[in-house]
């Protein structure tokens, strides 16, 4: 028997459950109580594409140091699903703990010699205390949490407080829940003292951070960003973003006098319709968005080309999942970069925003509407399932009340009346961005016909090659303008001058921070750059050129971001070393460090003098 793992505020607990069995709320209560003790956590739901009956897991990483990427491994397993028992038990780290419902005896073959078994007769306890089968099921989960809390020496009061908050208003439910918590705690105190080397002690590392999922955050960002029209078609993992937008609007967007809605949400019949409605609304001057995932992006391709070419603002939230095709609908990936950046047939380029977490999802969501209206083009906000559907610790949202919406170049009735020249596709300012007018603006000035065909600067249909080329070149100028408007990359200089750089983006961020700290501690110095948008600011290219070799970390198979960098930045691909993680699980610091270490080993020690020129 290996030494039992001992750890304080630094371990992984994993719950194995059956989909639809109602364990989620107890599990989340467990996680949140750790947060309330000031200890950072990262939680991840691993769920199937199914409504009821298939296995789900809930991972809680406790990290006093504040690493909120997925860690991998498991120190304490709570396998409540007989279907996956064997696999779950097998996945425990050596010396780890197996916390199980010991009501029914299991043969020894079902356990492992190198794992510490902790049994609590949860079902027995629940059945002997409660009569109603529903109570038995639900409160069993609560007993379990009470027991776990005691095992990890958590503050029981925090669990109790959460029960109070959760059932505020439904007071009838508070007492049995508190009691169940107590039952679990008492059993452990009585029978299982000092059985577990894992513990949680109060800390102050959470600070004022909030714990929220990215879809919810992005939806709130859309409310703050002034979105009024949303059109969407349900698809995992984007559905909860559209639904959260509705929920926020119902609270925040009701006209106080008339009680009417300052928003319109349409559940479209499919994604073609959803993006069409967004484009129609954008054309007519409302801030509009859709939320979708890969298959939806594929279906929107034709319309996206129209919006690019006819220059209509639109915001698309793509909550990326495992592709291609239906792929792994409940797994995470960063594999829609190419189809978003170059959406549609013909020559096109689109703006992408790449938030790293729910905090930035809120920010970028709000900003995307300014960008879409300023640039008169589709703007993609690329989340992924990991950010979108998991709760993340993130800095609290802020808003500057002095911030005004940038509605872009919209010519007003007054300007038209005053005789200002209007040419819908005229590059008056040299930035490639023309003025537009909104329908209904002026009785006899400024009306124009919007089309997806070639036309001249005054929006008249034209099949002349020079009109077409003129327009296509202006669109390139506009894309150049976008470079300066999108969020800048974030650079972190290593503690010593570094030959190596690393580039990453999106949800890789949390794992990357941790990986870099580990490598730095080992004396491996790497400068990093986090991309936050496409097109790339000039400093992105400069960063690459300033390093001999650049690790390019992505969560897809085909190194899609590398392709964008190489193509748009005219960078020699040989500069890049791709590190690709694409099995559908969130990337881990362990994976990144192992990969980087292996590559460096292959090159020879990183501290040696330059070997590549």
């Amino acid at each position: 028997m290996p030494k039992p793992i001992e750890a304080t505020n630094d371990f992984v607990v994993k719950f194995a459950n059956v989909n639809g069995s109602g364990s989620a709320s107890a599990n989340e209560m467990f996680a949140r109580s750790i947060l309330r003790m000031g200890v950072p956590i990262a939680t991840r739901n691993i769920f199937p594409s199914n409504i009821q009956g298939l296995p789900t897991w809930y991972e809680v990483r406790v990290s006093g140091e504040g690493w909120i990427g997925r860690r991998g491994g498991c120190d304490l397993m709570v396998p409540m699903n007989p279907q996956t028992w064997d696999k779950d038990v097998a996945s425990i780290d050596q010396g780890g703990y197996l916390f199980h419902d010991s009501s029914k005896p299991l043969p020894p073959s079902k356990f492992r010699a190198d794992v510490n078994v902790i049994g609590v007769p949860l079902t027995e306890m629940a059945n002997s205390r409660y009569d109603n089968p529903r109570d038995r099921q639900l409160l069993k989960n609560v007993i379990c949490i009470g027991a776990l809390g005691a095992l990890l020496e958590m503050e029981h009061g925090e669990l109790e407080k959460l029960v109070g908050e959760q059932y505020a208003g439904k007071d009838r439910l508070i007492k049995p829940n508190l009691e169940a918590l107590g039952l679990g705690r008492d059993y452990v105190r009585e029978h299982l003292r000092n059985m577990c080397g894992l513990r949680i002690v109060r800390s102050d590392k959470v600070g004022n951070r909030i714990f929220i999922d990215g879809n919810d955050a992005a939806a709130l960002g859309a409310v703050y960003g002034g979105a009024t029209v949303a059109a969407w078609y349900p698809i995992t993992p984007s559905t909860s973003m559209a639904e959260a937008f509705g929920a926020h609007c119902k609270k925040l967007r009701i006209d106080p006098e008339t009680k009417k809605n300052r928003f319109a949400i349409v559940q479209s019949e499919d994604e073609l319709s959803a993006i069409g409605t967004v484009i129609g609304a954008g054309w007519n001057g409302a801030r509009a968005f859709t939320a979708t995932s890969g298959p939806g992006i594929s279906l929107m391709q034709e319309f996206l080309g129209l919006a690019y070419f006819a220059e209509v603002p639109a915001v698309i939230f793509d909550i990326q999942r495992g592709g291609p095709s239906t792929g792994m609908p409940t797994r995470t990936q960063q594999s829609d970069l190419k189809i978003c950046a170059y959406a549609s047939h013909g020559d096109t380029k689109h703006v992408l925003l790449l938030p790293e977490d729910p905090g930035e999802a809120f920010e970028f969501a709000a900003q995307s509407f300014d960008l879409a209206e300023r640039l008169q083009t589709p703007v993609f906000v690329l989340l992924d399932l990991d950010i979108g559907m998991n709760d993340w610790l993130t800095k609290p949202f802020t808003w500057d009340d002095k911030r005004a919406y940038d509605r872009g170049k919209v010519m007003t009735a007054e300007e038209l009346e005053a005789g200002k020249e209007f040419g819908r596709y005229l590059d008056v300012d040299g930035d490639g961005i023309p003025f537009r007018t909104l329908p209904g603006t002026h009785p006899n000035k400024g009306a124009y016909f919007t089309r997806g065909t070639s036309r001249n600067r005054y929006a008249k249909y034209s099949e002349e090659g020079h009109d077409y080329v003129d327009n296509m070149q202006r669109l390139l100028r506009k894309f150049d303008t976008a470079k300066k408007m999108v969020p800048k990359p974030v650079v972190r200089q290593a503690m010593q001058p570094a030959r190596y750089g690393a580039i990453y983006f999106g949800s890789t961020s949390a794992a990357m921070d941790e990986a870099m700290a580990k490598l730095e501690a080992q004396g491996i110095h790497i400068d990093t750059m986090r991309l936050r948008a496409f097109p790339f600011a000039d400093e992105v290219i400069e960063f690459v050129n300033a390093h001999e070799q650049v690790f390019m970390i992505e969560q897809n198979r085909d190194a899609q971001m590398r392709m964008l960098l190489v193509n748009e930045g005219a960078i020699d691909p040989a500069r890049f070393i791709s590190i690709l993680h694409y099995d559908g699980t969130p990337i881990t610091a362990r994976f990144i460090t192992a990969e980087i270490e292996a590559r460096l080993k292959a090159f020879g020690k990183p501290t040696r003098t330059r070997v590549v020129s």
Binding site: I210, A264, V266, G276, G280, W283, F397, A447
Partner: protein, 351 residues
């Protein structure tokens, strides 16, 4: 046969409507369609209806898909914004435009290929959402712009100019609109302006999804013997259930009709549709009966035209969604952004 010459807009001097606009103020760019194309007559009818209704031209938004028919918005109402979107997907674009600004008049112009072939889903779904619009299909049974292939409204057994026979069952857009919950449904013929203009006027006054299927022969590809969408065929098989007068709310009603021959239906905005019954017992406010009539007569090879169904008190999508009266595109940060203080308390909910 006037329909064989390119329709010319007559400009009767400086004749002006109540708003002081001449007919010319409702015209658009010069048509590039074939001489004699039915679609041009529909454009003329739309121009006339808007002129007579005293609509401010810039308060109309014209939307279309792709096709000869979908080009026509460019050929009328030059002071209105237009949007020639993508093939078959105009309904969703129109829906979005309407949501952004409920105060304009939305004119959706489409073809049978655009709405019945590629666009069938969007057409039906847009109607079932109750979008307030006038939706017109310029129905010629073929894809004009791609040179005459059968569209989904071509009748089974009808012959193409190239000699082929259509095997697929036809889609009846009027039936589809009725099934989808359109609250104003008409059918007419590009060659019958007398029927078409008041229909369009009544549709514009209607505060919900108004659909008019206009049979509009394609002189280039579908006007030959054997076609069921030719001028000759339509004239022969046209069975109008009624003829209508459209009377704006404020106009006084003076004429009397023999009982049973006319029926007045008042729309939501106070306008009155006076129906002169041409077909015994046809009641256009009875949806189920209307559908039955249509099916029966279609089976008998007749083309039923007129105002086929009307719900005088429809609800539109803004009513369903309870949106504010101010157009959403006029709201600014003041109305839309909850501000920093609210955000602080929201943060608290996530701790």
């Amino acid at each position: 046969m006037t329909y064989l010459v390119k329709p010319k807009f007559r400009h009767p001097g400086l004749e002006k409507n109540d708003l002081g606009f001449t007919r010319r103020d409702y015209e658009g760019a010069i048509s590039t369609l074939c001489a004699g194309c039915g679609h041009d007559s529909i454009s003329a009818a739309l121009i006339q209806a808007c002129y007579e209704l005293n609509i401010e031209p810039h308060r109309v938004a014209k939307l279309s898909g792709i096709g000869c028919s979908s080009k026509t918005p460019d050929y009328l109402l030059g002071q209105s914004h237009g949007f020639n979107s993508v093939h078959g997907r105009m309904p969703s674009v129109l829906t979005g435009a309407n949501l952004a600004n409920r105060n304009l008049i939305y004119l959706g112009i489409s073809g049978d290929g655009d709405s019945a072939s590629i666009g069938l889903g969007q057409f039906v779904h847009c109607v079932r959402r109750g979008v307030n619009m006038v939706y017109i299909t310029e129905n010629n049974g073929v894809y004009g712009l791609t040179k005459g292939q059968f569209s989904a409204t071509a009748d089974r057994g009808s012959k193409s100019k190239a000699g082929g026979t259509n095997n697929d069952a036809p889609i009846d857009l009027v039936g589809m609109a009725l099934m989808a919950g359109a609250t104003f449904v008409g059918r007419s013929f590009s060659g019958d302006k007398v029927q078409l203009v008041p229909l369009i006027k009544a549709a514009i006054a209607h505060n919900g999804p108004a659909f008019i299927d206009v049979i509009s022969p394609c002189v280039a590809f579908n006007n030959h013997p054997g076609s069921t969408k030719s001028f000759d065929f339509v004239r022969e098989h046209n069975e109008a259930v009624n003829s209508i007068d459209f009377i704006e709310g404020r106009a006084e009603i003076t004429v009397d009709y023999a009982p049973g021959t006319a029926q007045d239906v008042e729309q939501h905005d106070g306008s009155i549709i006076r129906l002169h019954k041409l077909h015994d017992g046809y009641d256009p406010t009875d949806r189920v009966a209307a559908m039955n009539h249509l099916q029966t007569h279609h089976e008998a090879g007749e083309l039923v035209t007129g105002l086929l169904y009307l719900d005088p008190n429809p609800r539109d999508i803004h009513g369903f969604l309870r949106t504010v009266d101010v157009p959403l595109n006029r709201l600014g940060a003041k109305e839309l952004c909850p501000g920093a203080k609210v955000l602080e308390s929201i943060n608290d909910e996530y701790r």
